[in-house]
Each structure stands twice: as structure tokens, then as C-alpha cells.
């Protein structure tokens, strides 16, 4: 038996992060509409969450009528919307990784390291998740602001200025939750697909 050195077998180099970023960006660009559908799943979840948070913030700020019953109902809605956005985000990311098993298998045949595959998917997920969450947070908050304004009229503006910090914090929370959920939801399937033997990844039908 020969040694690895004698046979000239070396170690695969790791590509710089910039290369992974470029691959992730190209991937989003070339499947733009598919990426938009993934993003839409995240967008809807975060927009729902934000609308609930916005209602809570304004009702609390207005004060009268914000009793235990209302508070309990609002908290319940927050939990529900968190669950809905989690399911939405996880489902979107699982789908977008699952349909690319063959591609992952092919990339590994061509010399991609497992960690490059995971990195590309995480960058894609992080980027998609962040953009979708920003838009979702702004649209969700804005749409609910409109509804509350119609409902409460002039009182709304006073309540908004009183709750402005909370509203901004809520938008930040939504963006963080959406991005982190997208990253976590992409990590497991991408890691599983990347460490699977290429033969198995190539065989999967999606």
C-alpha cells in the first residue's frame, strides 16, 4: 500500500468566504422567483407577528380598555403568531433545501466540501430571511397602524408617540426572529444533505 504523499493525494482547499457569498448571491439571482416564494413564507409569518405586537403596543399606550382579558388575548395571539411564523419560515427553508439534494450531491462530486455547501445555504437563508423579515416587519406594523388609526382616529397618534420605542423594538425583534429562524431552519437540512454520501444525495428525487 502506498502512502498518500507518494500517490500525490492532497487536501482540498477551503474557498474564501467571499466565494461562498458570491455563490449564494448567484443562486438567489438565478432562481429569483423561487427565492421570492421562500421569502413570501417568511414575510407573511413576520408580518402577522408584527401586526399583533403593534396592536398590543397601541392598546397598552391608549390605556383604557387594556384590561387583563385583553392582555391575555393579546399574549395568546403573540404566541400563536410566533408559532405560525416559525412553521412558515421552517417550511419555506426545508422546501428550498430539499429540492436541491441532487445539486448538493453534484457539487460534492465536483469537489465541494461539506462546509462550503452549508455555508452557501446559510448565507442564502440569512440574506433571504433578513430581507423578508425587514419587509414583513415594516408592512405588518404599517398595515396594523392604518387599521388602528381608522379605528381610534386622533387618539392613535398620541398613543403611537407614547409607544414609539416599543414599536421600534418590536420591528427589531421581528427582524431578528425572522432571520434567526431562517438560519436555524436552513441549517439542519443543509447540514444533513451536505454530510450525506454523494451517492445518496444524487439518488433523491425532488
Amino acid at each position: 500500500m502506498a502512502s498518500k504523499q507518494e500517490a500525490g493525494i492532497r487536501r482540498q482547499i477551503e474557498l474564501p468566504l467571499s466565494q461562498a457569498v458570491k455563490m449564494a448571491r448567484d443562486s438567489i439571482r438565478v432562481r429569483f422567483w423561487r427565492s421570492m416564494i421562500t421569502a413570501a413564507g417568511i414575510f407573511l409569518g413576520i408580518a402577522f407577528l408584527e401586526s399583533v405586537l403593534m396592536t398590543s403596543a397601541i392598546l397598552k399606550s391608549i390605556g383604557d380598555g387594556y384590561d387583563d382579558v385583553v392582555r391575555t388575548r393579546q399574549n395568546w395571539l403573540v404566541v400563536m403568531s410566533l408559532l405560525v411564523s416559525t412553521v412558515g419560515v421552517v417550511n419555506s427553508m426545508l422546501m428550498s433545501v430539499n429540492e436541491r439534494y441532487r445539486e448538493i450531491g453534484t457539487m460534492k462530486c465536483l469537489g465541494a466540501l461539506d462546509r462550503l455547501v452549508v455555508k452557501v445555504f446559510l448565507i442564502e437563508a440569512g440574506f433571504t430571511g433578513f430581507l423578508a423579515s425587514v419587509v414583513g416587519a415594516i408592512v405588518g406594523t404599517g398595515a396594523m397602524a392604518l387599521v388602528l388609526w381608522v379605528r381610534f382616529g386622533g387618539k392613535f397618534w398620541g398613543a403611537l408617540s407614547g409607544a414609539s420605542v416599543e414599536v421600534l423594538v418590536n420591528i427589531g425583534i421581528g427582524i431578528v426572529i425572522g432571520t434567526v429562524l431562517a438560519l436555524m431552519a436552513a441549517f439542519y437540512p443543509a447540514w444533513r444533505a451536505a454530510k450525506m454520501p454523494p451517492a445518496a444525495a444524487l439518488r433523491s428525487e425532488f
Binding site: 500500500m1 502506498a2 502512502s3 498518500k4 507518494e6 500517490a7 500525490g8 493525494i9 492532497r10 487536501r11 482540498q12 482547499i13 474557498l15 466565494q19 443562486s27 438565478v30 432562481r31 441532487r102 445539486e103 450531491g105 453534484t106 457539487m107 460534492k108 462530486c109 465536483l110 469537489g111 465541494a112 466540501l113 461539506d114 462550503l116 454520501p197 454523494p198 451517492a199 445518496a200 444524487l202
Partner: protein, 247 residues
């Protein structure tokens, strides 16, 4: 620098079992095979005989249940993930029945991808990619996506891609399986030409009898076992006599 060995690939008592629903299926049953550097060898056998399984073991795409694959006399089981990736990138080029091009990438991007993984600069990769696509007769199609190409053209892209990093071995699994007779013949001739010109070892799993004409040796496999191995010399010397036996 690397020493060259007479046998570029050797398998020893290769066994691969698949377990499905409690049933054990032995897809490879003790395959020992020595493949010489630079030869064009065909693995012939009916569907389900274990050709793809052997392809996966030799290509480092799956692990055998027992037995050993040596590449340049190195036991493949001794390689870590980085060395395996290097091997797949630099030493082996893969060609599949289903082409397995990345659908969202152009012909040129598909061909340059292995070079990017090898750390070659984008400019150099593009220059070489265009040259390779010209070699396989697709100089006019470099910016086409796979869906804009015929099956034969897609397989040519896959062949160009398999040669991207000047591998020592080309592994092909039924490269003509999804092609019509004439296109299949062109692909076989292209592979043979590249084998002659670059001295690359070609290992091709197939049940396409057209492959026999260009092969230096044919390994006949059945039920996961080697049935017999016939050399081109035998076939040439015994034209007529061997004919019945070949089919």
C-alpha cells in the same frame, strides 16, 4: 511529486449490502478488479447487476460494506473528508446517465465550477472552460442553460466538466443511457478520442454493446459478481469465435 503506479484503481473483495425493510440485498458480492492506467474499460451487465454500485464505490461517492478500493495504491478508506473532496475534484471526473448538470447554471458555469472548487482564478477557469467546450464541439453554446440544450449536448457539457481539472480517471455511469443510438455513438467516440489524446483512464458502466468496440477490456458483471473479463486483444484475435460469447 506523485509516483505513477501501473494500476490506477484496484478493488479487493468489494462487498456492498443495502438493507431495506429488514431485507439485506447484496448489490456487490466480492468484486476484485485491477484497472490499468490509461485503459478504457467497460463494466457491462444487465440492469440491477451492480454497475452503479461499483461506480459509487470506486468514485468515493459511497462506502463499501467491506473490502477495499485503492486509488494509486492508496486505500480510499484512509482518506479524510478534505482528501476525499480533493480526489473528487482533481483526480476523478464523473459522467452520469442523467447528466447531472446544475440546471440554473450555463454550460460554461457548469464546466468552471470544479475549477472554482480547485481554487483556480475565475479568468483562468473561464478560458479553460471555453477551450474544453470547444473540444467537445460546443464552442457556440457556452452561455446556454442545460434546458436549452439537447440530451447529447448536455452530455457533452458533462464530459467537458469531467475534464475540468485534468483528472487521471473518468468514471462514467451509463453515459449513453438517455441518448438515441447516433448521439450515443458520438459520445462514445468522443470519450475514446479524449482517452487517446490525454491518456486518461476511462471506466464506463454500461449495458450499451456499442461500447465494446472502443474498450480495451470489458468486465462482465452479473448479480454483483464478475462473470468474466475479456481483453480487446482476445476479441480482435478471435473475431467470429468470440462473438456469440460476447452477447
Amino acid at each position: 511529486m506523485a509516483v505513477t503506479y501501473e494500476y490506477i484503481v484496484r478493488t479487493k473483495d468489494l462487498i456492498k449490502e443495502y438493507t431495506m425493510g429488514g431485507q439485506v440485498l447484496r448489490a456487490l458480492d466480492g468484486v476484485s478488479l485491477d484497472i490499468r492506467r490509461g485503459e478504457y474499460i467497460s463494466i457491462m451487465g444487465p440492469s440491477g447487476s451492480g454497475k452503479s454500485t461499483l461506480f459509487n464505490m470506486v468514485g468515493g461517492l459511497d462506502k463499501p460494506t467491506s473490502g477495499t478500493v485503492f486509488i494509486d495504491e492508496v486505500d480510499m478508506a484512509q482518506l479524510d473528508a478534505f482528501e476525499l473532496a480533493w480526489l473528487r475534484c482533481r483526480k476523478i471526473g464523473y459522467i452520469f446517465q442523467t447528466f447531472n448538470l446544475i440546471p440554473v447554471m450555463t454550460a460554461l458555469e457548469n464546466v468552471t465550477l470544479p475549477m472554482i472548487f480547485a481554487g483556480i482564478s475565475t479568468d483562468d477557469a473561464i478560458e479553460k472552460g471555453i477551450k474544453l467546450l470547444q473540444t467537445v464541439g460546443l464552442g457556440e453554446r457556452v452561455h446556454h442553460k442545460p434546458t436549452e440544450l439537447s440530451g447529447g449536448q448536455q452530455q457533452r457539457v458533462a464530459i467537458a466538466r469531467s475534464f475540468a481539472n485534468d483528472p487521471a480517471i473518468i468514471l462514467a455511469d451509463e453515459p449513453t443511457g438517455n441518448l438515441d443510438l447516433r448521439t450515443g455513438k458520438e459520445i462514445i467516440e468522443l470519450l475514446r478520442r479524449m482517452n487517446k489524446e490525454s491518456g486518461v483512464t476511462i471506466i464506463s458502466a454500461t449495458h450499451d454493446l456499442k461500447m465494446i468496440d472502443v474498450s480495451d477490456r470489458v468486465v462482465w458483471i452479473r448479480d454483483g459478481k464478475i462473470d468474466k473479463i475479456s481483453a480487446r486483444a482476445d476479441i480482435d484475435l478471435n473475431v467470429g469465435q468470440m462473438e456469440g460469447e460476447q452477447h
